[in-house]
Amino acid sequence: MRFKACHGNFAPATLPAGRSVLEPPIVNAANDGAEVRIGVVVAGTQKGGTSALKVCMIEHPEIGMPQEVKEAHFFDTEENFAESPVDYATYHRMYERKPGVRVYGDATPVYMFWEPAPLRIWQYNSAMKLIVLLRNPGTRAYSHWNMEIKQGRETLSFEEAIRGEQDRCRGALPLQHRRWSYVARGMYSAQLRRIWRHFPREQVMVLKSEDFQADPAPALAQVAQWLGVGAFPNVAPRKIFALPYEGPMGRGARQFLHETFEIEIRRIERMLGWDCADWLSELRAS
């Protein structure tokens, strides 16, 4: 029967005998005797300080990161998932097996935005730990636009680009638009909910980018304990990927971003128990 009537296949009775319905299913898709198995991903947000965190992880003797590539981009590459079963060996080949390493990591900031990525990560390793850095979505958008301008991939002004984003991004359908998704990437709540749908909250650490940049030491201590590795060797603040801006954000763009993100920021405060008054006032100021 191909017209699914009333979803009759979801009866709790179909669960394996002896297991509580509250336990997550056991998934070991990647338990194939591979050399390495990735246990932590830094999933975003782009322009949120993921490079700084990644450098700290590279310097840590007990964390293994990809050797040659800057970002693994495994779970957001559609070709990797075009055929079944997925060939995880191409993923694992990016890593060198090293003595002393207790956890292998992948810092690819598009993962939290890329719609199929959380499910693919779950299918690979349902015990994956995910780290998410969230930055003021308005300044994130502006930083993103500045990067695209510098790389010659954007011709519109910032305000034109954010106001016309929805129509422009349909050009990449059926995929999401990687370059021009300035506002869409800042809708963190839906992205977090998608991650939480697949992973219990204990497996997801959400950090505020601004706090991490000002003083990474407390967050790094937390990350080390959570991952079960020793202390990070260097916890001094540093700015890894700072580009000079074209100029300050225009008043019209700021107003648009405040309107667009005000409710989203309040929702993030509610969902995470955070105080994001700084984000709101930064977008309100003119």
Binding site: A5, L22, D167, L173, M187
Partner: protein, 273 residues
């Protein structure tokens, strides 16, 4: 052949036109979906649409075509099978599939876009807190949920993970209520001119005005005069506990405000006791 619990033929006589065979349907294309929300009054809306001579809705209402994973597992999709459910008469201009899980089911907007990028989407949205309670009452009556309402809400994320990689069609009481993010996902694929969003209470209290909007949106003749009807009302076993109400208010407060901003709506009265 097409199983479903809601036989809408009670609302209109079966005509010869509606019984035309699948062989006549080689070149048809579905061009309208009523995509949700579940418990939002989609059955009532579909019952009105069923009576319009320019509309063709299969008598079983819910096709569940785009949310059935097995339909999309192979290299090509058998749309002939989908089309065989439709028997449009000579006056039919709109072929409509009313399946309320479509707005919730993650892969559906993309699948529909690949099928027909000109698809028109109709949504009927209801206070997400009362929607959740109505949903739980339905599952309760169907004997599909042993938990009390508050416990079902509190354990929803963990319970729903038990059916991964899919979403949970039964126990997604809260998750189905995040309308704004579901609408945004549709808006990623379709321009807003192809979307009509109605409020459940408006369809319920003033169906004629709602149907006028539907007719304009679909470019069909106005509907004949109708009266309000309660199509799929079920008795509730209990009233909502105060702590469940508070949990839902906390959960949905900013989503309702987000929806108001997105649609230019006033949702006063939603989430209130």
């Amino acid at each position: 052949m097409f199983e479903g619990r809601k036989d809408l033929s009670a609302y209109a006589g079966i005509t010869r036109d509606r019984l035309r065979t699948a062989a006549d349907n080689a070149s048809i294309r579905v061009n309208c979906v009523i995509a949700g929300t579940q418990k939002g009054g989609t059955t009532a809306l579909a019952s009105y649409l069923y009576e319009h001579p320019q509309l063709c809705i299969p008598g079983t209402k819910e096709m569940h075509f785009f949310d059935a994973e097995e339909n999309f597992a192979g290299a090509s999709v058998d749309f002939d099978y989908y089309h065989s459910a439709f028997a449009p008469g000579p006056s039919a201009r709109i072929l409509c599939d009313a399946t309320p899980i479509y707005m919730y089911w993650d892969p559906v907007p993309q699948r529909i876009w690949k099928y027909n990028p000109g698809m028109k989407w109709i949504f009927v949205l209801r206070d997400p807190a009362t929607r959740a309670f109505s949903h739980w009452n339905m599952q309760r009556i169907k004997d599909r949920d042993p938990l009390p309402f508050f416990e079902a809400l509190s354990s929803e994320p963990a319970r729903c993970r038990t059916v991964l990689p899919l979403q949970h069609p039964w126990w997604s009481y809260i998750d189905r209520g995040f309308y704004a993010q579901q609408l945004r996902r549709v808006m990623r694929f379709f321009p807003v001119s192809q979307m009509l969003v109605l409020k459940s209470e408006d369809v319920h209290r003033a169906p004629q005005q709602a149907l006028d909007r539907v007719a304009r949106f679909l470019g069909i003749e106005p509907f004949a005069a109708v009266e309000a009807r309660d199509v799929y009302a079920i008795p509730y076993a209990t009233t909502m506990e105060a702590r469940a109400r508070r949990l839902l208010q906390q959960t949905f407060e900013f989503d309702v405000r987000d929806l108001e901003r997105l649609l230019g709506w006033d949702c006063g009265g939603w989430l209130e006791a």
